[in-house]
Amino acid sequence: MRFDYLTNDTEKSLAPFFSRRMLDITFACIWILGVLLMILWPLKAPSHFISEYRVPLLFPGIFVAALLIHSYINLRCGRGEMSQDDFLARFERKKVITLEEEHEYFSYGLVQSLLHTLFLLLLMLPLLIVSAAISGISLPVFAKALSILFTTSLLCRLFGFLMYLFYGRWSKLGYLWTRMFFIFSIFFTGFFVGPVNPILLIYSFHRGVEIPSGFPMSVYSLYIMIVACAILLLTLANQAMVRHNMHKERST
C-alpha cells in the first residue's frame, strides 16, 4: 500500500486522512475532549476525594467521551460519509468505485482502517493520558482502556464499511443500520449483556471493581475476545464482498 493512497483526498478515498473536512472533524473532536477535560478538572484537593471515598470523574468522563466520538467517526468513515464529494454528487447519487473497492480488502481496506483508527486515537492520546494520570489509573488499566477504545472503534469502522458494501453510500437503510449498530453495541448491550459493554467496562476500571463475567475469565478478556471475533468475522465478510464486487466489475 502506498502512502499516497492514505493522503489521497479525492472522492476515490472513503476516508481521506487529510481532507479539509476530515481535519475539521478531527480537530472538533480534540476540542470537545479538551473542553470536557477542563469541565471535569478536579478543583478540590485529592485529600477531599480520599476522605469522601469519591473518585474524580476525569477518567470515565474523558474515556467514555473519546469512545463515543472515536467510534462514531470511524463508523461514518467506514461507511464513506467522510469522503470528498461535490455538491451535486449528493443529488445525483453518483456511484464511485473507491480505492477500498479496487484493492483486496486485506491488502488495502483493512490496513487503512487500522492506521486511520490508530491515527485518530493518537491525536487524543495526550488528553487520555492526562485524565488517567490525574485519576490515578495504573499503566495496565490505562492500556486496557485504550485497547477497548481501539477495538470498539475498529469494530464500528468495519461494520460501517460492510454496510457501505451492501447498500452503497446513499442508502437510507445503510444509514439506519449503522446507527442502530452503534446504539446497540455502545449503549444497549449494557442493559442485556453487561460484560460486553465498553462503557460499563470503563466504569469498572474507574471504580476499581470487577464485574462478574459468568465465565472463567475476566470481563475485559471476555470483551476483547468477543470484539476480536466480531472484527475477524467482519473482516472476512468485507473481504468476501470486496472480492465479489471486483469479480462482478471485471465481468461487466
Binding site: 477535560l37 476522605s51 491525536l123 493520558i129
Partner: protein
C-alpha cells in the same frame, strides 16, 4: 480348572481381610483427623468490649497438617448496616498424633453474632466450628482465681461487685491486654511455675500497666525460687513460723484470726516492697509496686485452714480489692473524626493547577491546528507535516506523563500516624492513643507490620457506612509478631487505632518559691520535643524545643509570670495563628493548626483553677511506633503530641526530696532505691 479354583479360594479368604486390615492402617495416616477444643475468656466468661483470651487446642491423629487457624469475630449491626469482621489468624503445624494449644487475644463487642473458629489448609477449610456468645459474656469486671484445688466456697466469699471465676493456669492470656476485663487476679503460688514464658511476660507487663495480682505463700514455695518468677516477685524465703493467731488482721479487716491448732506462715523478704501488715515483725501482707500496678503477697495460704474457714474472709477480700491501684486512664479530648480529617488533609498529594492544565491543552490544540492547516493546504509537504504532527503527539504525551500527574501521587499508598500520649505526674507509663491511616489512590492489598510485639489494634470505621464497603480487619500472628492485612479501594482510606499504656521515659520536676518557678525536664527519648507550651496559673508560656536525650531548665521569675497576660478563650484562634505558621507546610504544622485550638481550650478548662500542677504539651515530628509496609519506597509521616501534667511543688518539698533520706523522688522506687528501669527503658 476345578483344581485351580479350589487353589485360589483359600488365598482369597486369607488375603481379603489382610488387605482390608492394611487399608485400615494406611487410611488414617493419609486422612486428616483433627479435633478442636477451645476456652474463651476466663473459664468461658469475657467482658463485652474488652480484650479477652481465646485458647484453641488442636489434636491431630492423622497426617501432618500445616495450615492457618482462624478466629472470626463479627461486630456491628445489620440495622445500622455496619457489620464487619475481624479475623485473627495464626500459622500452625501439627505433626501426626500431636496436640497443641494456640492462644489468641480477641476483642468481642457484640454477642449477637457467633464466633467462628476454623482451620484452613491452602484455602480449604478442614474444620470449622461456631460458638454462640450469648451465654459467655459478662457485664461485671472479672476476678480470675488461678491455682489448684480452688473451691466454689472460696469463690462465694469474694466481693459482689466483681465476678469471680476459676480459671485454669494454661488458659491465661499471652498478651498484657488479654487482662483488659480483669479487676484483680488471685494467683496461687502453685500456679506461678506452671505459667508459660509468654504468659509470665504478659502478666508482668499487665502489672506494669496498672494490673493487680494477689498471690500467696505456700508450704510448697519452690515456685518463688525460680529465676523467671523472681522477675515478677523477687521473694527471699527466710523460713516458716508456727503460730496460733494473727491478731494484726483485726486492724486490717476488722476481724482477727485465731486457731486452736497451730498453723504455718511464711517469713519472707521481697525486694522493693513495703509490708502493709506485720505480725511480730513477720510481714503478713506485702505490697510490691511495679510502675502503675502492684503485686500483693500474702504470707499465708488462703486455701488452707484456718483461713479456709475463717469468718472474716469476706471483709478481708473486700479490703484486698480496695488495695487495687487506681489507674486514671486519661481521656483523649480530640474527637476521632477531627483527628482523622486533619490527618487526611495533611496528605502531601496535590492535583496540578487548573491554569496549568488549561495552558497545556491550549498549546496542544493550537499546534495541532497549525499542522492541520499546513497538511490540508500544502499537499507537497504532507509527509513532513505528518511527521511534525506525530512529534507533537509524542512530546505532549510524554509531557502529560511528567508535568500533569498527581504531585507525590507516585507514593501510593501512603500513610500517616498521629500518636497522642498523655502522661500524669512522674509515671513512666503513659496513656497512649495511636492512630494510623493508610491512603491509596490506586487501591490494592497491603500488609502492615507493627513491630515484634502484639498490640490491641482495632479498625476505625468510616462515618458514613451506608455506601461504603466495610473491609474486614485481618490480624495474622506469627511467633508473637503481628501483621495486619489491609485491603483498600481506589481513592479511599483505612484507619486503625491502638489504645494502650506505653512506656514514655521523660522526667521532670517543677518547684516554686518566693522568686518564681523552676522547670526541669529530662528528655530520655531519641526524638526532639518541639514547640513546647506550658499552661500554668491561667497563663500560657512557650518553652521552646527539648533536644533528643537533652535537658531543659527554665526559670520563670514571679514578675515574669505576673506580667504575662491571662489566657483568654476568645483569643485562642489568634494565639494559634501566632504559634503555627500559615499556610502549614508540613504534616506537623497541619496537625498543629487543626488540633491546637481544641487543645488549648481543653487545657484551659481543666487547669485554669489549679496552681498545684502545670500542663505541658509538645510535639514530636516522628513516628514513635515503627510501621513496616510490604511495599517498598513508601514514606509515611508521623506526629506525636505529648500532654503532661506535672505537679508543682514548693522549694521546701524539693529540698526535702533531695536531702532527706527516705523521701521518694519521682524516679525512685517505694523502697527508696533509684529506679534503674527508667534509663533501661530508653
Amino acid at each position: 480348572m476345578i483344581i485351580h479354583r479350589s487353589f485360589i479360594s483359600p488365598l482369597k479368604y486369607l488375603f481379603g481381610p489382610l488387605f482390608i486390615l492394611l487399608l485400615l492402617g494406611v487410611i488414617p495416616a493419609f486422612s486428616a483427623s483433627i479435633s478442636l477444643d477451645y476456652s474463651l475468656g476466663f473459664n468461658g466468661l469475657f467482658q463485652l468490649g474488652k480484650w479477652a483470651p481465646l485458647n484453641i487446642m488442636l489434636e491431630n491423629k492423622g497426617r501432618t497438617i500445616r495450615g492457618t487457624l482462624e478466629v472470626v469475630v463479627t461486630s456491628g449491626s445489620e440495622y445500622r448496616r455496619d457489620v464487619h469482621y475481624a479475623t485473627y489468624s495464626m500459622d500452625i503445624e501439627l505433626p501426626t498424633n500431636s496436640k497443641k494449644l494456640y492462644s489468641f487475644t480477641i476483642l468481642i463487642d457484640s454477642f449477637t453474632h457467633p464466633l467462628i473458629m476454623r482451620l484452613k489448609q491452602s484455602q480449604r477449610t478442614l474444620l470449622s466450628t461456631s460458638l454462640n456468645l450469648r451465654p459467655h459474656y459478662a457485664t461485671k469486671r472479672l476476678v480470675p482465681v488461678v491455682g489448684e484445688g480452688i473451691t466454689t466456697d472460696f469463690i462465694s466469699i469474694l466481693p459482689k461487685g466483681v465476678l469471680p471465676v476459676i480459671s485454669p493456669t494454661r488458659f491465661l492470656p499471652e498478651t498484657w491486654y488479654g487482662y483488659d476485663g480483669v479487676e484483680m487476679l488471685i494467683l496461687h503460688a502453685s500456679a506461678l511455675n506452671q505459667l508459660r514464658e509468654r504468659q509470665l511476660i504478659a502478666l508482668t507487663e499487665w502489672v506494669k500497666r496498672g494490673g493487680y495480682i494477689v498471690t500467696t505463700g505456700s508450704l510448697n514455695y519452690g515456685a518463688f525460687l525460680e529465676e523467671r518468677t523472681r522477675r515478677l516477685l523477687p521473694v527471699t524465703i527466710l523460713g516458716f513460723k508456727r503460730i496460733f493467731e494473727l491478731n494484726s488482721l483485726e486492724g486490717f479487716c476488722g476481724e482477727g484470726l485465731s486457731s486452736p491448732d497451730p498453723f504455718l506462715i511464711l517469713n519472707t523478704e521481697i525486694d522493693e516492697s513495703v509490708a502493709l501488715l506485720k505480725e511480730d515483725d513477720i510481714p503478713i501482707i506485702i505490697q510490691r509496686e511495679m510502675l502503675l500496678g502492684k503485686v500483693i503477697f500474702l504470707a499465708f495460704d488462703y486455701q488452707m485452714p484456718p483461713f479456709a474457714n475463717w469468718t472474716g474472709r469476706c471483709s478481708f477480700w473486700n479490703e484486698m480489692l480496695a488495695l487495687k491501684p487506681l489507674v486514671a486512664r486519661s481521656s483523649f479530648d480530640f474527637e476521632e473524626r477531627k483527628i482523622i480529617s486533619s490527618m487526611i488533609s495533611g496528605i502531601p498529594t496535590h492535583f496540578p493547577r487548573f491554569i496549568l492544565a488549561l495552558s497545556f491543552f491550549a498549546v496542544y490544540a493550537i499546534l495541532v491546528r497549525i499542522i492541520f492547516m499546513r497538511v490540508g493546504g500544502n499537499r507537497g509537504r504532507r509527509r513532513r507535516n505528518v511527521s511534525y504532527l506525530l512529534a507533537i503527539i509524542i512530546v505532549f504525551s510524554v509531557a502529560s506523563c511528567w508535568v500533569l500527574p498527581l504531585k507525590n501521587g507516585q507514593r501510593d499508598p501512603s500513610y500517616s500516624s498521629f500518636h497522642h500520649v498523655k502522661k500524669m505526674g512522674q509515671n513512666i507509663i503513659a496513656s497512649s492513643r495511636y492512630i494510623v491511616g493508610l491512603y491509596s489512590i490506586r487501591g490494592g492489598d497491603y500488609q502492615i507490620s507493627l513491630g515484634p510485639t502484639c498490640s490491641p489494634i482495632t479498625p476505625i470505621l468510616p462515618y458514613k457506612t451506608e455506601d461504603i464497603p466495610l473491609h474486614s480487619l485481618a490480624v495474622h500472628e506469627n511467633d508473637g509478631e503481628q501483621t495486619i492485612s489491609v485491603s483498600i479501594d481506589r481513592w479511599s482510606h483505612r484507619f486503625f487505632q491502638i489504645n494502650s499504656m506505653m512506656k514514655f521515659p521523660i522526667q521532670g520536676k517543677v518547684f516554686q518559691d518566693e522568686q518564681g518557678l523552676v522547670i526541669m525536664i529530662e528528655n530520655l527519648i531519641p526524638h526532639a520535643i518541639v514547640d513546647c507550651q506550658m499552661y500554668f496559673a491561667n497563663r500560657l508560656f512557650s518553652l521552646g524545643n527539648i533536644a533528643p536525650r537533652g535537658n531543659l531548665v527554665k526559670r520563670l521569675a514571679r514578675s515574669d509570670i505576673s506580667q504575662k497576660g491571662l489566657f483568654q478563650v476568645e483569643t485562642v484562634e489568634k494565639l494559634v495563628d501566632s504559634i503555627v505558621p500559615y499556610p502549614p507546610t508540613s504534616f506537623l504544622e497541619v496537625m498543629q493548626k487543626d488540633l491546637m485550638e481544641g487543645l488549648l481550650r481543653s487545657v484551659h478548662s481543666r487547669y485554669h483553677s489549679r496552681e498545684d500542677a502545670l500542663h505541658l504539651f509538645g510535639w514530636i515530628e516522628s513516628d514513635l511506633i515503627s510501621i513496616n509496609l510490604n511495599h517498598s519506597g513508601i514514606n509515611g509521616e508521623g506526629v506525636a503530641l505529648l500532654e503532661w501534667e506535672i505537679p508543682v511543688r514548693s522549694s521546701k518539698e524539693h529540698i526535702t526530696a533531695e536531702l532527706v533520706p527516705g523521701h521518694r523522688s519521682p524516679s525512685e522506687t517505694p523502697s527508696g532505691k533509684k529506679n534503674p528501669r527508667l534509663r533501661d527503658l530508653v
